[in-house]
Amino acid sequence: MQRKELIAKRRLVWQLISFALVFGLWELAGRWPISLAFPPFSKTFLALLRMTADGSLAKAYLSTAQPLVIGIVLCGIAGIGFGIGMGLSRTIEWFSLPVFIILQAAPMAAIIPLITYIYGIGLTSKVLAVVFLAAPVIVMNSYKGIRNTNPSLIQMCRSFLGTRRQEIIKIILPHAAALIFAGLRLGLAMGFIGIVIAELLITPTGIGDLITYHSSVADYPEMFAAIASIIAVAAFAIHGLQRLEHKLFPPEIRGSS
């Protein structure tokens, strides 16, 4: 028990040292300065406090969260469903796989502005930007999860005269669950990228508006604070999902998937 505590303490110390090192280097780079528009960490942190205190950061996140959550929920339901369908049916796979492979490889920053030609400049376009980035990862992970089910387990089910329904529900889905969940986590990471690109390229709202506005009026500490905050929020959200994943699925399932 004592040994465990000691290891945990040591880990915390190293984590704190790594943070201090990164922020210290940032402070030095800002004071040197590497660019006159690059603020030191201390000024950026103060700007972050100011933006938190005046409510502009909370307001921005409320606006950014809307298309992000809608997009991820859509991908979570339809994307996982589609991926499972692709994994189970050769016909659905034949029709859909090339689309998702192309979407995965396509440079989204170039495609997102095109969405506005069809869907305008509102919420729909931003939700679509999130979906375009997140869906391929979620769908492909679900598809691979299903396809990579251990064949000996399926054979075992069949040898016990298990029906196709039992094969799917009792063998394939539980086996693929860890990879599907990992896809959701990676999809959320892509969703964050999608929403920030959309808010910078389509119309500046939420966090994209904070970045654009503070850049245009040369409030560089505020601009960097907005950028740093969205990176932190995305990192925490993804880390949270990772921890949940570790709790829900034992290492043998995660390892085998």
């Binding site: 006159l36 506005t116 509102g122 119309t203 500046p204 508006d209 654009t212 245009s216 040369a218």
Partner: protein
Amino acid sequence: MVQRLKSIASFLMVTALIGGLATETWAQAKTRIRYALGDVISIDELPLLIAVEHAKQRGVDVQVTSFKSEEVATQAVINGQADIGQGTPYAAIQKVTVPIRFFYQLSALQFFPIVAKDNYKSWKDLDGQEIAVHTRGSGTEAIMNLAAKEHGIKYKSVSYVPGSQVRALALLKGNIKATILDAPNKNLVMKEAPDKFIILPLGNVKASDEALFATRDFLDKNQVAIRIFVEELTKVSRAVNANPSWILEERRKLGLLKDLPPKMEQEILPFFQEAVKSGVFPNDGGGERAAKNDLEFYSLSGALKGENLKVDDFWYLAPLKAALANVK
């Protein structure tokens, strides 16, 4: 004796003249100016492109690079990757520690508030309604806010839709009902659907749309080249103001924007005729008058903070004065 003195005086004058010319030619031959443009090169950049070619003929090599936005162009100047920038980054000049100064007004703001006829007929109808402008703190927002103040109205909300072209398309598609556009996009909308939209009257806005800026250090070290470039810019402005079709002849003569599609070629003359009528191109490079108007306008827009702003903290007028002394 008198004859001899006359000969010596003539000799000295000729030597001084040749020396002066040689010094200028030497300075010019050595000068390369990296010009950062925060926009795509299009027909509205023709006066600049013509001045660049004329300056080149006088030995000043101005290399124009097109950047994605004014902010990127400003960063290039701040970080020393470009010598001259084009735009109105008053906020950056106020906040950044490097002394950057404006020295020439290329053009004044020319925007048109435009609304869907079925929904609105006048400024009063916009009371409590939604409008769309370029970005937060932009000149377009300031113009719309000034108009609202003037007509005693208040908008319900302001949406930010960057790019006149995007707003024009959104207007034509019916996604937005009231916005503000630049001249080419206003013309496009009125051409595509002349019966659907009306332009609301606007008071005289005199602020800069595009001005040239550089570090004070660069302006001091390259006085001759800057003077020549500003002289050429002023000459082009005066020639366009005297006769807008001059720009067509000069474009043909210098072979500029050769790949322009025929549809856009036809827009050149109307664009410059309208701009000249609105007084967009100053004959005197703006100077102190433009600086004072800008300080007032960009304070109202929220880009500039503080009171009692001084012209000298934003503009360096010596290069313009030197150039104007040479342009008759």
